[in-house]
């Protein structure tokens, strides 16, 4: 990470799910933790999310999904980031993610999943420890 540069994060809602309390709270929280945060709003396709990630030159992509479509959408974002040459991005997820889905998501390149009960500070620390410099 460049000297003095704030960590840049895009928080996105892939798919059709409209529950955005967690995504918005995290966006506001990470801003207070000193990061630059872009919130995409609802109904983003993986393509649009990756486009935003590239345009905004982010270090982290945070994906939120509560509709059960995470197994399709999260890996697709990772795939597209790779094919667009943005492999240095830390991809994380949250929402309603059953425990049993987490290992497969991690295999497919989602670095971490933070769901209900996780604190903003824990997530911020994780990002600081794991963001690719």
């Amino acid at each position: 990470m460049k000297e003095g540069r704030k960590i840049r994060v895009v928080i996105a809602k892939p798919g059709l799910d409209g529950h955005d309390r967690g995504a918005k709270v995290l966006a506001l929280g990470l801003r207070d933790e000193g990061m630059e945060v872009i919130y995409t709003g609802l109904r983003q396709t993986p393509e649009k999310i990756v486009q935003a990630a590239i345009q905004e030159d982010v270090d982290v992509v945070g994906l939120s999904c509560l509709s059960g479509a995470h197994n399709e959408l999260f890996p697709r974002v990772v795939e597209l980031l790779k094919s667009e040459g943005k492999e240095d991005c830390l991809v994380m997820g949250g929402g309603l993610i059953p425990e049993e889905d987490v290992p497969k998501l991690k295999e497919k390149g989602i670095a971490a999943i933070f769901t209900s009960g996780a604190s903003i500070h824990t997530i911020a620390e994780y990002i600081r420890q794991n963001v690719k410099t």
């Binding site: 798919g15 059709l16 799910d17 409209g18 529950h19 955005d20 309390r21 918005k24 709270v25 966006a27 506001l28 929280g29 919130y39 709003g41 609802l42 109904r43 396709t45 509709s67 059960g68 479509a69 197994n71 399709e72 959408l73 059953p98 209900s116 009960g117 604190s119 903003i120 500070h121």
Partner: protein, 574 residues
């Protein structure tokens, strides 16, 4: 005026003596800077007027209760958990999957959950629907799907003896058209149809997210529902105005009420602007509940204030003549906030549900055990959770006799002060919204959305700092704490195989309909819809009926409307 001047002064002097004597010594003795609890006295209700503030049950301002007495209990003693589960909001996969589930549950009415593509006006074969078809509810693309769904009533009862709730908002009138068309096919007079589509599009912009079109054309379609139902479907409620989602998205109690009532004011105005008399259509306006929190006393006060505020709005602002139309119809009493339930040590949620059940009883509602304790653990409440919740309500009702007195806290120095406080705060926000130009404007500018996000963030900060205690989450989490578990028997895990396979099956169903329908007829009905959508004065429901009967798809109809209305692109919401 509760107490005369002399009495008040006497109490004020006595209070001063107490504060400077007993209280001071207590604080010193235990090294406390502040008293750990507050005390209320008659001084807090100095200018209070019983008839103005509370009155009698079923009478303006309805603070204690909407009706002169609680309504009689309808469920027999033999009601089992299965009966409660049979009324629950449900739906998954294809309509065949849900029809079969409902048959197995012996349902006599529908409480329909639609999948996200349906709620958002996309067909199951749309690329944007990939991975989402049949996940959070049933996939409905054409009338054929509704015909199959309503087979659940065959041999059980007829559609005019049954009611249907549809949790559908943006494409509400299309679903309504399907409901009417199925009834007609079954030889049932649509005028006998009962039910409630949710149809509260404003809260979608603020909290729930299933909007399609911008606010104005969306409101035009709610106007269509109100006028069409008032004229043709006299037993159907055109709307269920929701505070619930706004609260669950993070708004405070007062914000939730203010935003909901501002929305409601906008909806009532729709009917008036369409030339209807307020007493004609408001009888069928319903409200969903306002969700809740663990702030026990606040929720009691909030419920009482809600009744009073709506009564004032209907009587003083809209000048409804029939006193029945001053009543908030729906669940005004306190309920639990589901976001207060925890996945950590979940059986504690039973305690939370019961606490709010007591609040409900003390705010004029029916005591309820709350949503079953396993709500946060996944789809489907267990039989155990349901039984515990139902029995908790019975214990509150019959053992603790919590229904014996209506609004037992009326007159309490604390509760009446708090009710007034919540009411005042709510009016301030309502007036602020009105000064912005009303709910639609407050939403278009993103103001309401930003307020909700700010409150949600504030709440999270309170939890993370420990200021807001969540037992088992941010406090009392040491190694000596136990996670008590039960063996949950969830009666209808939505069959995971069916759920996974639903998308492919529905795409095939849809393809078949498209092959077999008269595509020319579809095109002409869609064209007519497109043309008439441009004229704001036209009611679109008859045109939806034509499209629906031609087996046009939900996506085709919504795309025609997207061409006219555009899609809503929110800005500045965070």
């Amino acid at each position: 005026m509760l107490f005369n001047q002399d009495e008040s002064e006497k109490i004020a002097r006595a209070k001063k003596d107490w504060e400077e004597g007993l209280l001071k010594r207590q604080l010193e003795r235990f090294g406390m800077k502040e008293p750990p609890s507050r005390t209320y006295t008659p001084l807090d209700l100095r200018d209070w007027d019983f008839l103005e503030k509370v009155g009698f049950p079923g009478q303006y301002p309805f603070t204690s209760l909407e009706y002169p007495t609680p309504l009689p209990e309808r469920l027999p003693d033999t009601a089992s958990p299965a009966i409660f589960l049979a009324g629950a909001y449900a739906g998954y996969g294809t309509v065949e999957d849900t029809r079969d589930l409902w048959r197995a549950q012996r349902r006599r009415g529908a409480n329909v959950a639609f999948d996200l593509p349906t709620q958002l006006g996309y067909d199951s074969d749309d690329s944007i629907s990939k991975g989402e078809v049949g996940k959070v509810g049933i996939a409905v693309d054409t009338l054929r799907d509704f015909e199959v769904l309503y087979e659940f009533l065959d041999g059980v009862t007829t559609m005019d003896q049954s009611a249907s709730n549809f949790t559908i908002n943006a494409p509400c009138n299309i679903i309504l058209a399907m409901y009417i068309a199925v009834a007609e096919k079954k030889g049932v007079d649509p005028a006998k149809l009962r039910g409630t589509p949710q149809n509260d599009i404003l809260k979608e912009f603020v909290a729930r997210g299933t909007y399609i079109f911008p606010p104005e054309p969306s409101m035009r379609m709610v106007r269509d529902t109100i006028t069409y139902c008032t004229k043709n479907l006299p037993l159907l409620n055109p709307i269920s105005i929701c505070g619930y989602h706004i609260r669950e998205a993070g708004a405070t109690a007062a914000q939730t009420m203010a935003f909901t009532f501002a929305d409601a004011i906008a909806y009532v105005q729709l009917g008036i602007d369409a030339g209807l008399d307020v007493d004609e259509f408001v009888p069928r306006f319903t409200f969903l509940n306002f969700s809740g929190s663990m702030d026990f006393f606040l929720e009691i006060a909030r419920a009482r204030a809600a009744r009073r505020i709506w009564a004032k709005i209907m009587k003083e602002r809209f000048k409804a003549k029939n006193p029945r139309n001053w009543v908030i119809s729906g669940l005004g009493a306190a309920v639990e906030g589901r976001y207060c339930y925890t996945t950590q040590r979940p059986i504690n949620n039973l305690a939370r549900g019961i606490i709010m059940g007591v609040a409900s009883a003390l705010s004029g509602g029916r005591p309820s055990g709350g949503v079953p304790y396993d709500e946060p653990l996944g789809l489907g409440h267990s039989y155990e959770g349901t039984q515990l919740s139902v029995d908790a309500a019975r214990i509150m009702r019959y053992e603790a006799q919590l229904g014996e007195v209506t609004d037992p806290l009326a007159g309490s120095y604390y509760i009446e002060s708090l009710t007034d406080e919540v009411e005042t705060e709510t009016w301030e926000i309502i007036n602020k919204i009105e000064s912005m130009g009303g709910a639609v404007e407050a939403i278009r500018s993103g103001w309401m959305q930003r307020e909700v996000a700010k409150s949600a963030y504030h709440y999270q900060r309170e939890v993370e700092s420990g200021q807001r205690v969540m037992v088992g989450v941010n406090r009392f989490t040491g190694e000596n704490e136990l996670t008590v578990t039960t063996n949950r028997l969830v009666p209808h895990p939505y069959d995971p195989k069916k759920r996974e396979g639903a998308e492919a099956r529905q795409i095939a169903n849809l393809a078949k309909v498209k092959r077999e329908r008269d595509n020319q007829r579809v095109q002409s009905t869609l064209k007519a819809l497109y043309q008439v959508a441009k004229d704001e004065k036209e009611n679109l429901i008859p045109y939806f009926l034509d499209c629906v009967k031609a087996y046009a798809t939900l996506g085709e109809m919504c795309n025609a409307l997207r061409d006219v209305f555009g899609e809503w692109e929110p800005v500045g919401i965070l």
